[in-house]
Amino acid sequence: MAWLPKWRHNVSYALFLLVPVVLYLGAYIYPLADTIRLSGFSWDGMSPDETWVGWDNYVQILQEPRILHALANNMKWLVYYLVAPTLVGLGLALLLDADLKGSYIFRTIFFVPFTITTVAVAATWRWIYDPNIGLLTETLRAIGLRGWTYNWLGDPTINTYAIMGASLWAWSGFTFLIYFAGLRNLPTDVIEAARIDGASPWLILTRIKLPLLLPSTIVIIGVAGVDSMRVFDIVWAMTQGGPYNSSSVLAIEMYQTSFARFDLGAGAAVAVLLLAVAAVLVMPYIYYLSGRIEDVRE
């Protein structure tokens, strides 16, 4: 093949790259650019005409209490995603890393909830959380904890956390899998050497295993950070952001503004706000942690 002109190689590469590049431009770059453009217009989504309004959409949404409340909820989701599924997944992975008899059964049990679709998870947990006949309420009553029963999804002070509980049940399977794979790939000679030198299990965990699991942690936290910004389906399926917008998040406000309030320009502005929050809060953290991988490798 060396006898072929170089341009024939380049044409082949270009032809094979054409489809993914076109898909990337069409499915990612173009919608992103058009959303930013649309955020400067007033448009109901039906009429052929759009009206230029400049920054008005941004001024409007930043003055709306429901948008600011949704942003605050997204921050709660960010903290939740960074901490809860990470710790639970790590804990489960460490438990099953001991290779006890039958542990493969628990591996399946812990992972299966992650494979269930979000709507099915939401429907199941709506039933569990029913304040009158739900499983959680009935169980608490049966064990004499009637005072601990709440309107799990209807009480605005706790409903977001209740939804997080449902999400934790489903999402921990993913973090467990990542950490478990990470633990299985740790160099055993290093750990053995530490044991021989008399290091305690706690020391081995904190000084050897956890630092070596940093690449897995970065994967999980990266995905978690992104997911906290775009959380929509489980909230929508469980409460639709209610009651009275108490559990709403920015993705729901974007959806409602666009398709229930018929204001796609303002909806696009919410989307851009979401992008900006993600860019400011999530991406720098990811880059920082990615840089730490090199330190760990060294």
Partner: protein, 426 residues
Amino acid sequence: MAHQSSITRRTFALLAGAAGLASKAFAEQVAEFWNYLGAGGELDAVNAVLAVASKQYPNTPIANRVIPDGAVGLRQQLQTALMGGSPPAVSQYNTGYELLDAARSGRLLKINASWDAVNGDKIFSDGVRRIVSIGGDHFAIPLSASIISNCFYNTALFDRLSLKPPANWDEFGDVCAKVKAAGITPLGAHSPAAFVLYQWYGPMITILGVDGFWAFTRGEIPLDGPDIRKSFDLFKSRIASNFSKTWSGGKWSDSVDQMMRGEVAMCIMGDWASGYMETRGWKGGADYDFFAVPGLDKISIFQTDVVVAYKGSQEQTALNFLQVVASPEGQAAFNKHKGALAVSSAAPTDFYNTIGKREFEKMTAGGDYIALPNPYLLIPTGFHLDFATEVERYAATLDDQSFASALGRLEAKRKTLKESGKFISW
């Protein structure tokens, strides 16, 4: 390398062929009726009216397409389809402000000829005509009407407590007090906000009257004024304070289930609750019954789903389907399964159960009896959500001070919308 070139040429030939086939397939799509009527009896209702359509117009077939996620999900899909230049032939739509918005966009077919052909001015009531016609032009055919101003009750529970359906607010209060004394929740309630708002209509019309109702939809009533305040005082004392402690966040079917289990005595709800109870083996007039919410004894507040047609390549199919929807056969076929009321006065009435018969007779009685459209859909889009959300919050918290502040904020929005001509004179 020659082999590699032939692979490349072959691959692209295959891709081009697939693209061509896809285009051909796309161009030959069957006309569709987009709707969100996918639950139980609703799906049967749509299939029934489509069956009538295929019988009357076999050359213009039309298929059902259920869009999940209610009106919002349907709107999203419609907008996407319109942006892509491939709208459906027909779709379900909300009346009032949403229909006005769609009509102004220029995307909908004016159906004046079809309207005249079915004698729309005669078979549809004044309240219906006001909300499907804009500026003398007609854009939609109503499919069904659900009465949302009735209070359903558990008859066995009423008998056990020796209660009679109340005729006024004082009697309503007495009934609620007796039910509470028996350790039962008087009224069921549920999210989302619109369903809570429906329960305010009785107090609203009691204080404002029918003229005030229309003034409210035109944006002429100050929201922080004494009349609105009085209506919400009545709402709080007679309705919201009788809800269960755990009502918020629940679905409408949760409320009905509670009523069927005897945990709740009454539910102010649309007559889809009647259809729901019938599918679960209860009989209207025996296991459950209804009375008009006080203040609405001669008024039926209804909500109607309509069908609209889109400009495009399937206009004739769309117009044929609209004729079927308006026909007595179409109205009967749909509403028999849905458990709702036919909107056309020419539709037969033999398929109604006890509940439906009484509702239909009241709605079409004429004279002092009035049918009013759901005001939620007559006020500017977005504002209707804000208003209903604050009413839902008030019903949950019963906090007068916070609600007064909310009404103040809403009043400022009302004024702005009124000044910019957003309210409509229906």
